[in-house]
């Protein structure tokens, strides 16, 4: 039997857990994403102090405080901007960005496009529940056009945003989709995303049990592993994603673009930055 050398620091998922108890609703998919993240970090054996988790605003964006990694709970829609700055300044860190469909595709939509285009070595996890859960259930960019509620009678009538298609068109190097009903599968995708150089985008379908209690059961019956193997051909991936119904799981595209990583300057000091902001 192969033995793991005793000198290797064995990291367990529990090593990535903070003392803060999650306030998400019991049954919320985001709990599964947290468990998947912790498992993925243990699988990658990344010391918590070498990982930074950056988020925006929303239910999903609470995740940094629930991990023992460095965290930054940022400004609405600006998680990718903060994370990009961090990665440029500290390329040695593994930077994971967490967001929701409202934070990431509406308020932060423009940052999403340019983060894909820039292709820094970041992993972007979007917990997509097709709703603004924290503010009591308004339709988000990924909400179905005919989702009829008291807050949006008759539905919005607007076509949903297709984040994976946008990510591909904008230059993301890794595109995948997971479902919170399969924690191990999500962990595997996060591992894969972190290991793939460049901008990795992982959409995780994460049902909202409070404002969309229909989702859990419905999505469970709809999701399935993508039958077509992953591709590195953007044209093939585009055809596949354009005809995708939003429930194919797995790695859907893995490109070969080299990540953008400007070399940090050796001779900059804090006073240099102060001078740039002087009025």
């Amino acid at each position: 039997m192969n033995m793991i050398p005793t000198e290797v620091r064995a990291l367990k998922p529990a090593d990535y857990k903070s003392a803060v108890k999650p306030v998400w609703c019991p049954g919320c998919g985001d709990h599964s994403v947290l468990v998947a993240f912790q498992r993925a970090m243990a699988e990658l054996a990344l010391p918590p102090e070498q990982v930074a988790v950056v988020s925006g605003i929303g239910c999903s964006s609470r995740i940094p405080s629930y991990t023992s990694c460095y965290g930054f709970h940022g400004v609405h829609g600006r998680a990718l901007a903060v994370a990009s700055g961090l990665k440029v300044a500290r390329p040695d860190l593994t930077v994971v960005v967490a967001s929701g469909d409202g934070d990431g595709f509406s308020i932060g939509g423009n940052h999403f496009l340019h983060a894909c285009r820039r292709n820094l070595d970041l992993t972007y996890i979007v917990m997509d529940n097709r709703i603004y859960g924290m503010t009591k259930g308004q339709p988000s960019p990924t909400t179905e056009s005919d989702w009829d509620t008291a807050i949006a009678p008759g539905g919005t009538g607007l076509s949903p945003f297709h984040p994976l298609v946008i990510a591909l068109a904008s230059g993301a190097n890794f595109i995948a989709r997971g479902f919170t009903g399969d924690v191990g599968g999500c962990a595997k995708l996060i591992v894969d995303a972190v290991r793939t150089p460049g901008f990795s985008f992982v959409q995780i379908l994460s049902p909202c049990v409070t404002f969309r209690s229909d989702q859990q059961k419905a999505w469970k019956s709809l999701v399935r592993e993508a039958i077509v193997p992953e591709t590195d051909d953007p044209a093939r991936a585009a055809r596949r994603l354009m005809t995708d119904d939003g429930f194919n799981l797995g790695v859907l595209y893995r490109g070969k673009r080299l990540p953008y990583q400007p070399r940090p300057s050796d001779n900059l000091t804090p006073s240099h930055f102060e001078s740039e902001f002087a009025i």
Binding site: A10, K12, H31, V183, G250
Partner: protein
Amino acid sequence: MSQVQQHDQIPSFDSVAEFFAQALAIEVEAAERYTLLADQMEVHNNREIAEIFRKMAAIESEHRDEVARRAGDALVAGRPVNFSWTAPDGPETTELEQLHYLMTPRQALMLARHNEERAVSYFEAIAATATDPAIAGFAREMAEEERQHVAWVDQWLLKFPADEPGWDEDPDPPLYSE
């Protein structure tokens, strides 16, 4: 790929040590999951259920320690050999989506019972298919221990009558209007 749990494939083991390493991983995960569920319920002020899950976590932790003792050399720094953290949830692990913030003690215990029963089936299947008689013997022992847990939960369940209709009615629901 399974959408939730995948236990239709019964694993085969090269050694008794490997079997115990896997069994340990199952117990560790079950204990950690019950702790997570207890935390969730505590945050949402459902203290009775939190207490049930804490007790289940304690039971699984005791079992974990016992299995760790038996696993011995198969572990390095507390981690099972040849174990992947990206595998599907273990047979004794509660699915996170099964929770409701107003759930009753009976429902919580029924979840626990379901887990223990799955663990019984898992170890029974290993006992039935293992070619190494030693592994088959230990798997039978594990199945028996899990069966004992089912019996404990059954005793516990006697304290709680069937749920009344409307158990999930919240006089102050989070919804804006309906």
